[in-house]
């Protein structure tokens, strides 16, 4: 069955190509259904191909498709192992649901088929990334998803803000990509190949401490760009300018987890560099609490979810940085479920409120859209980490693993615990502000429940958010056994094994979740004046959080403005004066020489004759004289 793995990439790609050329001839809902069928087919193929891993005992396989750059060990080859299978299942599974949701959400958009072209192209790119058998092909997918992200953030390109956000995402990602590329070059210098098999086999012999750390840190730079970690996270909140299904699929569930995936995939390299691992975990922890505190004070429903995504990605880095790769990938999976659910729920709300995103103008929507409210409540509780929902198991495993690692990681564990508390608070705030209390709608708002094509994906994701965590519980470590073949020879940080420690840790994270949710609900179920006063009592902290610590402003003044000044100086001084001056100078020189030589041509034949004769005489004299 593994011979057909290439279909996983080929199906969405074929969908994208078909819709690109013929999409305009296909009527509106049909092009959406075609795209959904393409990615749904990819899901079926990967599910069938993953069966041997689920049964256990199957070895990872490498499928070579064709040669590309043999000199650097980069061919089109797919690595089908449990990690790739899990990623492919998440991408295609969640992707299919979001495709279906988008059929309803994008209804009436004049570039409907173009949207699904890009969505399918994104799916093909992401699957190239996760199925790649070497770093070169991974990088190919890595850049392609960046391109798709750019296209989809700027989908409504007539809005200036959307166009600017797309550009920002692309440029910030380029910064990370440079680090990533240098990392890959180092890998090639050390190993002479970029293929996973070649690199990981000889990691123990070739990697001396310094080199491993350098590679690890450079890969982290790339991962921080793609996965929106400090200091490169600023593009993700702006990326919310894209249509909400895009935010759900690309900027929450799949693409932004690519950084986590790369670090998990490169586990055999991080094996030899505790320093880089500590940096990864610290960046993750710092990002987690930083973004969670910003999420507390946002008014825009999508901004809350965007900062929440950054924060949860920080949790995943916290896991893979502590060598708890299984926990990181586990959280990646559960997060894909509940965050996609929350985003789609937010999309459903925005859709029914006629593009209103300010939570201060919502409230009381529970009665108008009960199904959205219920499913979003499930997603919110899963994110908050209330057992037995998905988020609890994965977040708890990360925190437990960091606790078990000890040393510096104790400190990171405390940060993680505080972040869990903040997470529970802001997501409770979001739900209560949107769905509970008295309506604070604008007068022209007529909220209504969304059509079934939108609510059914919500229900499916809500189901996954409930049961998704059960694949890996301390009672039955299913995912850990499943992923074993992918992390052969890698030391994985386990959670503590004795039940007492485990119980205390679980109790602490449940406590954080319950206190957070309780505080959020109690604070915001009161009338608006009361919770406004509550927020004001936190000034000036609250305002700082609402402005996201002013990081955008800081980057604008310290990086963007000098860059712009430099470009202007180059354009109006260097280019206009030096470059153009040199070109014009050459022209003027030739012209001057011509002016000087013109009088020689009198136009009188006799002058030419005299000169000719004189020349001939000179030649004769010279010949005679030289004998």
């Amino acid at each position: 069955m593994t011979d057909f793995i290439w279909l996983v990439i080929a199906l969405p790609l074929a969908g994208a190509v078909f819709l690109h050329f013929f999409g305009r001839y296909v009527k509106e809902p049909l092009s959406g259904w075609l795209a959904s069928a393409a990615i749904g087919g990819a899901f079926v193929v990967s599910a069938v191909a993953a069966v041997p891993f689920i049964q256990g005992g199957a070895e990872p396989v490498t499928i070579s498709l064709w040669e590309w750059m043999p000199a650097i060990g980069a061919s089109f080859e797919l690595l089908w192992d449990p990690l790739a299978a899990l990623m492919a299942l998440v991408v295609t599974g969640v992707g299919t649901l979001i495709h279906v949701f988008a059929i309803g959400y994008m209804h009436g958009d004049e570039r409907f088929h173009r949207f699904f072209t890009n969505l399918n192209l994104f799916a093909a790119s992401m699957l190239t990334l996760v199925l790649a058998g070497n770093y070169a092909m991974l990088f190919l997918g890595w850049e392609l998803v960046g391109l798709c992200s750019y296209l989809l953030i700027g989908f409504w390109y007539t809005r200036t803000t959307a166009a600017a956000a797309a550009k920002k995402a692309f440029i910030v990602n380029r910064i990370g990509d440079f680090g990533f590329m240098i990392g890959l070059m180092l890998v090639f210098t050390v190993f002479g190949t970029l293929s996973f098999a070649g690199v990981f086999e000889r990691a123990a012999e070739e990697l001396t401490g310094g080199m491993a750390t350098a590679i690890g840190l450079l890969l982290l730079v790339g991962a921080a760009g793609k996965s929106a970690q400090i200091p490169l996270y600023v593009w993700l909140p702006d990326a919310m300018e894209g249509p909400t299904p895009v935010s759900a699929l690309i900027h929450a569930a799949t693409m932004v987890t690519a950084g986590v995936y790369v670090i998990a995939r490169s586990a055999p390299i991080y094996e030899f560099t505790p320093v880089a691992s500590i940096v990864v975990a610290s960046v993750g922890a710092l990002t987690a609490i930083w973004a969670a505190s910003i999420a507390l004070a946002q008014r825009d429903i999508k901004k809350v979810l965007a900062y929440s995504t950054i924060s949860q990605l920080g949790f995943m880095f916290l896991a893979v940085g502590a060598r708890a790769y299984v926990a990181g990938v586990f959280h990646l999976m559960t997060h894909a479920f509940f965050k996609a659910l929350l985003f789609l729920g937010a999309g459903s709300v925005i859709h029914s409120m006629s593009d209103e995103q300010d939570m201060h103008r919502m409230g009381g929507l529970m009665r108008k859209m009960p199904l959205t409210a219920a499913t979003m409540a499930v997603g919110a509780l899963a994110l908050a980490g209330i057992p037995p929902l998905a988020g609890f198991w994965s977040k708890d495993e990360i925190l437990a693993a960091d606790f078990a690692r000890g040393g510096w990681y104790y400190f990171l564990w405390i940060i993680g615990l505080v972040t869990a508390l903040l997470t529970a608070f802001y997501i409770a705030r979001l739900w209560v502000l949107v769905f509970y209390g008295e309506p604070r709608w604008q007068e022209d708002a007529h909220p209504h429940e969304s059509p079934r094509v939108m609510t059914l994906p919500l229900v499916a994701l809500a189901f996954l958010s409930v049961v998704g965590g059960l694949v890996n519980t301390p009672f039955r470590l299913g995912l850990e056994h499943f992923l074993e073949p992918s992390f052969e020879g890698v030391h994985i940080q386990e959670a503590p094994t004795d039940w007492l420690t485990l119980g205390i840790l679980a109790a602490l994270s449940i406590l954080a979740a319950v206190v957070g949710v309780g505080a959020g609900v109690l604070a915001y179920k009161r009338p608006p004046e009361r919770w406004r006063r509550f927020e004001e009592s936190f000034e000036p902290l609250w305002g700082t959080w609402e402005l996201a610590y002013g990081v955008d402003d800081l980057y604008g003044r310290t990086l963007v403005l000098p860059g712009r000044r430099l470009a202007e100086a180059a354009a109006f001084s260097v280019d206009a004066k030096v470059v153009d001056g040199a070109v014009n100078g050459v022209g003027r020189l030739v012209r001057g020489a011509g002016d000087w030589a013109r009088p020689l041509q009198t136009g009188f034949v006799r002058n030419y004759g005299v000169l000719f004769l004189a020349g001939a005489l000179v030649v004769v004299v010279w010949l005679v004289a030289s004998g």
């Binding site: 030589a597 013109r598 136009g603 009188f604 034949v605």
Partner: protein, 100 residues
């Protein structure tokens, strides 16, 4: 037998007449004839020298020059006739469009 020096002197005289005519006359046709005169002065030199040194190369060179000169005369005369038809004059002083 006339000594070779006389032939050389005649050739020099012909060349000088041609060169001066070339510089002093304005009629394109006359100037053209002067050029031919110079050309044939050179031919005479080559033949005389070849005869004096008992070498056939001089005469061979003259044959080449005659052939090329015949072709050149055709082109040159055609140009002069064309100019005359267009302008009703063959004075070279009036043909100074190529002045810089």
């Amino acid at each position: 037998m006339v000594p070779v020096g006389w032939y050389m002197a005649l050739a020099a005289a012909l060349f000088l007449i041609g060169a001066l005519g070339m510089l002093l006359r304005r009629n394109a046709l006359v100037m053209f004839m002067c050029i031919e005169l110079m050309l044939n002065a050179v031919n005479l030199t080559l033949i005389s020298a070849g005869r004096a040194m008992n070498d056939l190369n001089g005469q061979v060179a003259v044959f080449f020059i005659l052939v090329v000169a015949a072709a050149e005369v055709v082109v040159g005369l055609a140009i002069i006739v064309a100019i005359f038809r267009r302008r009703a004059t063959a004075s070279v002083d009036e043909l100074s469009e190529l002045r810089g």
